[in-house]
Symmetry: C2
Subunit: 157 residues, 2 copies
C-alpha cells in the first residue's frame, strides 16, 4: 500500500468519510470526549442532532476517519458554512471540533481531516476558512495552511 | 426620554430589531461596506440571502439599530447558532459582522447590539458565545462581557 506523501501514514489504513448514524457504536462519542469530557450521549440525542445537521445539507459537514483494521473512529472534525451579507453575500467555513484519538496521533491523520474540511469549504465557494485554537496548536494548523489572524473572545454562560 | 444606564446614549433614539427586507433602502449595505468594502449588493442578491437566513429561523439572527430620527440603519450585528455533538449536543453562538456607522460611534450603540445578540444566544440555550476580533477591539468586547481566549487562524482562498 502506498504511503501518503509527507504524512508518514499508510493512506489506506484510514477511510475519511462523512459521519454516519452507525458511528455511535464505533466510538465517535468516546473520541469526542477526548476533546471535551462530558457524560455520554444517549442514542436518541445523537440521532436527533444527526438529523438536525443532515437538514443543513452541505452547510454542515462532520467528517470521521475510520480505522480500516478495527472499524473504530480514530479522528473527526466539522466545518460549518456561514452565509454572510458582506463580501457580496460571501460564505465562510468555520472548522470546529477537530480531534484525533490519543493512540492514533503523530501519523498525519489530523492534517488529512482538516485538509478535507478545507476542501469542502472551498468547493462550497467560501472565501476563507477560520478556526480558533489554543496557542500550542498554532504549529499544527500552520502545517495545514492556516495563518494566525486576530484573537478569539468568549463569553461563558 | 430616559438615558440607557451607563451607555451615554438616548435609549429611544435607536430601535434595535431583526433585519427586514426594507433595510436595503435604509442603508444596511452602505453600513456593511464600513466593515468590509465591496461592490454594492443587487436587490436580488440581498433578497436571496435574506430568504436563506430566514429559513434558518432563530439559528441565524441579524440585528440592526434603526435611527428613529432619520430611519437609517446605524449599527448591525449577527449571531449564528452552531449545533455540536460535544457538551451533550451543546450549542454555541458565533457573533459576526458587528458594525456601527462612523457617525454614530461612541454612544454605546455597538455594546447594545452585542448584548442583544448574546441574549439571543443565551435564550437559545448556548453554553457560550464566541467571536473573533482584531487586538484593538479587545477592550470593547471586554466591556460587553467577553474574555480573551485562544487565537484565531485563517486560510484564505
Amino acid at each position: 500500500m502506498a504511503s501518503e506523501a509527507g504524512a508518514g501514514v499508510d493512506a489506506d489504513a484510514y477511510r475519511i468519510r462523512p459521519l454516519e448514524l452507525g458511528d455511535l457504536s464505533k466510538g465517535f462519542c468516546d473520541l469526542l470526549a477526548q476533546l471535551s469530557p462530558s457524560a455520554p450521549l444517549t442514542e436518541d440525542s445523537f440521532c436527533s442532532r444527526f438529523a438536525e445537521l443532515a437538514a443543513l445539507g452541505a452547510d454542515h459537514l462532520v467528517l470521521v476517519a475510520e480505522d480500516a483494521g478495527t472499524g473504530r473512529i480514530a479522528a473527526a472534525g466539522a466545518v460549518l458554512v456561514e452565509r454572510k451579507f458582506i463580501r457580496r453575500c460571501g460564505t465562510v467555513g468555520h472548522v470546529e471540533d477537530v480531534v484525533v484519538d490519543a493512540a492514533a496521533r503523530g501519523r498525519g491523520l489530523g492534517e488529512r481531516v482538516v485538509r478535507r474540511l478545507v476542501e469542502h469549504a472551498r468547493a462550497r465557494g467560501c472565501y476563507k476558512v477560520i478556526l480558533n485554537c489554543t496557542p500550542e496548536l498554532r504549529g499544527f494548523y500552520a502545517k495545514c495552511g492556516f495563518v494566525e489572524k486576530n484573537v478569539q473572545m468568549g463569553l461563558y454562560f
